[in-house]
Amino acid sequence: MPLRAKVASSVSRTAAALSRAAGRGDGSVIGGWIGLKIDPDLLAHLSAGRAIALVSGTNGKTTTTRLTSAAVGVLGRVATNSFGANMPSGHTSALAKAGSTPYAVLEVDEHYLAQVLEATEPHVVALLNLSRDQLDRAKEVAMMAQLWRAALVRHTDVRVVANADDPLVVWAATPPGDPARGINPPHVTWFSAGQRWHDDSWVCPECGSTIQRSGEQWWCTGCPLRRPEPHWVVEDEGVLDPTGAWHKVSLQLPGKVNLGNAATALAVAAEFGVRPVDAVSRLGIVTSVAGRYAQVDKDGRNIRLLLAKNPASWLEAFDMADDAPTLLSINARDPDGLDTSWLYDVDFAPLRGRQVLITGDRAYDLAVRLDVNDVPFQHVRTFDDALRSVPPGRLEVIANYTAFQDIRAELDRVI
């Protein structure tokens, strides 16, 4: 590593330690930010010599990254940004902190995928899904798919592990090659994890025609784009690998969506040569991920935290949640997106019949939404009020990003 990179890396580690010691954060961003100021190529220097996997998509990045790290861990030490700090400063910080490791698994914000592909020259990139998320500042969904596709054209040597169920991802993962110039399309391994959310993929990204669906199949009515045959498939409580062998997956994380994340993790690990039979038991050690799915016992209540940031992830959260009293909390601060209109993209009907409490900065937006949805609810001002309002036993908490962090803070920053 060049001297400048060494200095930058060391300063980066020190800043992260200071940030944690000062109680200002978990140090996962600030160190990397300072390091990158000293050496803009620090991320590239820190990546050199490591076999790297990148994980990107709208939903499931953090959990899939954690599961993938566990699976790749079969082979040796893995550096990872496990706190969801998923921009280049977070990657820099994570790699500097981990020191020399043969492997790294990095969660990447979907807007930064092109830049991080460039800097880290990964062996594998996993593309999970693309759906609407924080539209007041995020790129519109189709444009995001276009950016991914353009980035992959420049990195046709990277191995892609991608979701066969998401038309936008399939299109992004299959840019045409240029045989005349010896450029082959990227090698893609497809996984199928099921997809509950379809409302961002009715229109073909290639030709603008309607996309038809029947069961798990989908196809464009105007061009050859269609669902590729997946190599890795979720089946019952396990995963079918490309050889047709079925592996039972016992997770501590709830929901079918996490079985899909596990299938992705096994597929990515396989690109490094990890056999699913060796990796599958390691997936069960993951309990909670940066507070997501964490369970806390307080005042006789067993509180479980579910993060739901956008319409697609709310649908998954309802699938995971038990039939128990449920607290919903909505904020609309910068990290959440300022426009709460998406509440109407979510059908809250699965909550009918449960005791529903609402809170958060934007509880009134939620109140109007639930009213129209015929879901009775009770508005509470604080988390403690919510606890007092439900009987002893399970309380499911479903919250969007900053609302989730607020509640996590009430519970002593549970991870």
């Binding site: 519109e140 709460t340 209109s341 993209d345 009134y364 109007v368 939404r369």
Partner: protein, 239 residues
């Protein structure tokens, strides 16, 4: 009304439903049912024919590509024009508002609109993102408009339409006026969705559709709280 029940058509949810636009259909239907009106909501996808005999047509927001495609298909279909000629109500939001005009820009290209409203849209220097508020045209007799806007367009009104509101916060059409209306056609840049934030606007559309001069009042406790909270937030941001 054209038949036994109030027929609401949500135009092209596969293309124009980017900002919770389903909410406007849900709220209209609910407020009609609460007054005892039977309601039918039809979601018409862009590969289907648009029925010309519904009472209210909703056109929502969308990205540039789907907006251009939606306008092309509506022009080719002709159903919305026939419906308007028969006196149906049309409510357009954001991209759906722009395409009711004579022209708009999508992906840097000027596109032909439906020419149902005398207005045209071009690109502004910056994107308008944030809370939108305004005093609504007094002839409509509605409380202030509240919403959330997120668009790169600027809309210029011709003499045949009236502004929906005078802007008190945000940008709307051009920083001075917001939205437009003529007869039973009305467009706005407000998301929220617009009818969740402005139930009186939903009732205006229902009155236009039914010919009723008045509708029985509903319990709007939560919408009122939402409106007050948003009004305070806009005032606090300005202070």
């Amino acid at each position: 009304m054209s038949s036994e029940s109030l027929r609401i058509v949500w135009i092209y949810p596969d293309l124009l439903s980017t900002y919770g636009d389903r909410g406007n259909a849900l709220i209209l239907a609910r407020r009609a049912r609460q007054r005892g009106m039977p309601v039918e909501v039809l979601e018409v996808r862009s590969d289907e024919r648009l029925p010309a005999t519904a009472d209210i047509y909703l056109v929502g927001g969308g990205e540039d590509g789907p907006q251009a495609l939606g306008a092309q298909r509506l022009l080719a279909d002709g159903g919305l024009h026939r419906a308007v000629a028969q006196g149906s109500v049309v409510f357009g939001v954001c991209a759906g508002y722009q395409l009711l005009g004579t022209s708009f820009f999508a992906k840097g290209v000027q596109c032909r609109g439906l020419e149902l409203l005398d207005l045209r849209s071009d690109r502004g220097e910056s994107r308008a993102v944030g809370e939108l508020a305004g005093e609504i045209d007094p002839r409509l007799g509605l409380p202030p408009l509240t919403g959330f806007e997120n668009h790169g367009g600027r809309t210029h009104l011709g003499p045949e339409v009236s502004p929906l509101a005078r802007v008190t916060a945000g940008v709307g059409n051009d920083g001075a006026t917001e939205g437009a209306w003529r007869g039973k056609l009305l467009g706005t840049y407000s998301h929220g969705p617009a009818l969740a934030r402005n139930p009186a606007l939903a009732d205006l559309l229902l009155r236009w559709a039914t010919g009723a001069h008045q509708l029985p009042p509903l319990d709007d406790t939560w919408s009122d709280r939402l409106r007050n909270e948003r009004r305070s937030a806009v005032a606090a941001a300005r202070a």
